[in-house]
């Protein structure tokens, strides 16, 4: 029976059915669920690595040792893992190696748009792109066959709409021979695997030759589909865009490329010769368009369709209509809507980051932020984050600003998982090169933004096995930081005292603001809504400034000030008491006062 699988679940299933033995990843939207699904197959060793470069090195180790291995990351993760991606292209592998890479057109959960097909060409690695979940599953198997046949890593590129769309798939089985227990003998081949210049120079011509052979292979690759319809319009497309284009042009001719690097020149030339007008429909970069134009074939693409953002059938239709490729559709314009109140993602009620930002605002420091839930602290009313670039950037940026002589103090704010990802070398740098940077590690006991993944500070692995727990104080000291303190992120006085002391220190300092994410089961157990005393509240509005969704405006007004009183929504409040500490009139009950009351 067919089952509905997301692209991510299908890839995990594909790995299982391909006999994969080892998988490593760092969580990142839209790729996170791949490893979360993979770990349910006990035959596969599935691990969270501290970052994508480590994840890829781990998978490379598995492939060098001779087993099928897979590394999974989002598009910007491959920036982090690029070094490994290039060397493994040079060395090739023993067992198959597939790198699953999820691009995020329109940046639903990312800091930049980038088209990672560029990496495939850059590193001479073949790139496969599925158009639905069935293909996502099946192409994992195709990717491993290519990897082993051509001695190359393979990039399996998906986009958000493949990763997070559910479509029907047929399940297959795992081959019995995949779980043969015979111990492996590690094959030593220094010329192939030690990339010193002398060896690397020998390898480079081999990988250039490999791409030529793959280009030949692509001519007959089963996932490069030719579907001839009307000769008036020939569409070259890939991935999810194939679905949009088919919906808009049911009668056109299609060349759907399942392998987008390297391309099959004869197949493309042949298809182009059969149609009157050749158009490429692809998201993000004009990657196929440029390659086809380099073959000397006249083609259109980005002159019609946008280079920015996501496509959908509507966008494809509208652009095609403007270019005269599609008849105008009778559309009625939507009714005018007044500007609606926005509903952006927010720091949740009870979020332990909220109080820290209240204090950094109070002390008027410049906050160099990082990637995680706490990035949302940039939103009003907190507006507490002043830079955010990529994973681990906060500490280096704060150090640089400090060295440049910025008048205000710079504070780096970074989450526990992000600190492990790329924050650690940056903290070492503040100690080594001695800046007055204060680093606040927001230790909320989980990787929260991507949906509560384990990390080296949680004491558990991806498969739920107990492991050691990083001690942030000891780690910071080992990296050379002398002034280290740990505070309860819910205790504003403690946070303020520790931050003031850290700012006064001559040299780098670390403050660890520790408190479990309010949505973790361990924290939920302690939820207890608190209340506002309407007799004491005069509607000053200070509690609204911490941006807690549980604090709402009451219908009641204060008789003297004529301002609306505040009220707490008991369904949302967790009882973190941050508002109670901020209130200048003691109008919000603390938990112990609630009990007496």
């Amino acid at each position: 029976m067919q089952k509905l699988y997301s692209g991510n679940e299908a890839i995990a299933r594909g790995a299982y059915e391909s006999g994969v033995k080892l998988a490593s990843a760092y969580p990142g939207t839209p790729s996170t669920e791949i490893l979360e699904t993979m770990v349910q197959y006990s035959e596969i060793i599935s691990e969270w690595a501290p970052n994508e470069k480590v994840a890829l090195d781990v998978a490379i180790g598995g492939a060098y040792a001779g087993v099928r291995s897979i590394a999974v990351m989002k598009h910007v993760g491959l920036n982090v893992a690029a070094d490994a991606f290039f060397y493994v292209s040079m060395t090739g592998i023993e067992g198959g190696l597939v790198i699953v890479n999820a691009d995020d057109p329109d940046m639903h959960s990312s800091q930049n748009e980038q088209d990672n097909r560029r990496y495939a060409k850059f590193a001479r690695v073949p790139c496969l792109e599925p158009s639905d979940s069935q293909e996502a599953k099946d192409m994992v198997g195709a990717a491993f066959e290519i990897s082993e046949r051509f001695d190359t890593p393979v990039l399996l590129r998906i986009t958000t709409r493949i990763a997070h769309s559910h479509t029907l798939i047929e399940l297959g089985e795992r081959p019995a021979e995949a779980d043969d227990d015979t111990p492996l003998t590690y094959r030593i081949d220094r010329t192939k695997y030690v990339m010193v210049p002398g060896n690397a120079r020998k390898r480079h011509p081999i990988i250039e030759e490999r791409i030529k052979e793959l280009s030949q292979f692509a001519e007959d690759f089963a996932y490069n589909l030719v579907e001839m319809g009307s000769a008036e319009l020939g569409i070259v497309t890939n991935g999810i865009t194939y679905q949009y284009a088919q919906e808009v042009f049911p009668r056109a001719s299609f060349l759907r490329l399942g392998m987008t690097y390297p391309l099959p020149p004869a197949l493309i030339r042949d298809f182009a010769a059969k149609v009157d007008r050749l158009v490429v429909i692809e998201e993000l970069d004009p990657f196929l368009e440029e390659e086809i134009r380099l073959m000397g074939i006249p083609v259109e693409g980005k002159s019609i369709f946008p280079i920015v953002g996501e496509l959908d059938a509507g966008v494809v239709r509208d652009c095609a209509t403007q270019a005269g490729l599609h008849p105008p559709s009778p559309t009625a314009s939507p009714p005018p809507i007044p500007p609606l109140p926005m509903r952006p993602p927010l720091l949740c009620p009870g979020c332990p980051h909220r109080g820290v930002f209240h204090i950094t605002n109070k002390l008027k420091v410049v906050v160099n932020g990082d990637i995680g839930c706490y990035t949302l602290g940039f939103l009003p009313p907190l507006s507490a984050l002043h830079t955010c670039g990529c994973m681990g950037a906060s500490i280096g940026v704060a150090h640089g600003a400090n060295k440049a002589g910025a008048k205000q103090k710079n504070v780096a704010v970074i989450g526990d998982s992000t600190f492990f990802h790329t924050g650690m070398p940056a903290l070492l740098n503040t100690a080594y090169n001695k800046s007055d940077t204060v680093t606040i590690i927001l230790d909320n006991r989980t990787t929260a933004m991507t949906g509560h993944q384990e990390n080296p500070a949680t004491g558990f692995t991806l498969s739920g096995k107990p492991t050691f727990e990083v001690d942030f104080e000891a780690l910071s000291r080992a990296l050379g930081i002398e002034h280290v303190s740990t505070v309860d992120a819910y205790d504003l006085e403690e946070v303020e005292t520790a931050l003031r002391a850290a700012l006064d220190v001559d040299g780098p300092a670390v403050v660890i603001a520790k408190r479990a994410c309010a949505l973790l089961p361990v924290a939920r157990k302690d939820w207890m809504p608190i209340e506002i005393n309407p007799e004491q509240c005069n509607g000053c509005g200070l509690c609204f400034k911490i941006g807690c969704p549980a604090i709402v405006r009451s219908e009641e007004k204060d008789a003297k000030t004529d301002r609306f009183l505040a009220e707490i929504d008991p369904l949302l409040c967790t009882g973190c008491e941050i508002c109670a500490q901020v209130c200048p009139r003691d109008a919000i009950y603390f938990r112990d006062e609630m009990e007496i009351k």
Partner: protein, 194 residues
Amino acid sequence: MKAINFLVVGVGGQGALLASNVLAEVGVRAGFDVKKAEVHGMSQRGGSVNSHVRWGEDVKSPTISQGEADVLFSLEKLESLRYVSMLRRGGVALVGEFKIPPLTVSSGADAYPTDNEIAHIFEQVTDDFHFIPTLTLAKEAGTSRAHNVVLLGALSSLVEDVPEEIWLEVIAERVPEKYVEVNQAAFQAGRLVS
């Protein structure tokens, strides 16, 4: 059977994804090709969320384009307005009577649209617009949390091709065992409403 595009919208944490998962699975069991698209991540609790569900003979795109949703299934009143341009002329809009004021409204900076304003805007697109007393009916059934299942019940009576048993079966599989009865009662309450 006719192809149908459903757009499920609401506020993160309200149960929009459960509703769209049920809707997708019901379509599969009713013999349709089904695709479902949504976006995860970026702390969507408290944020605006949407999920596209498409039933058809051979569905291509997993997402619905502007003006092509046959049904707008909204668990929250303000959110229904945010997606009004997605609804086809003459399509069905089912809007749960659930009001979650965004932060800017609860702090007094913005105003929440009135029921009349909402109805007036929808009237320009369709006559088939309905507020459904999801919270009231869910509470009567036993838990306010089943408000999403009340709305599924209301929707089910409009999809005449699909037998009621399929809906009940899928709901029973998707909710925790001890809440099956309450949810099935909520479903029935919604089914009677429209």
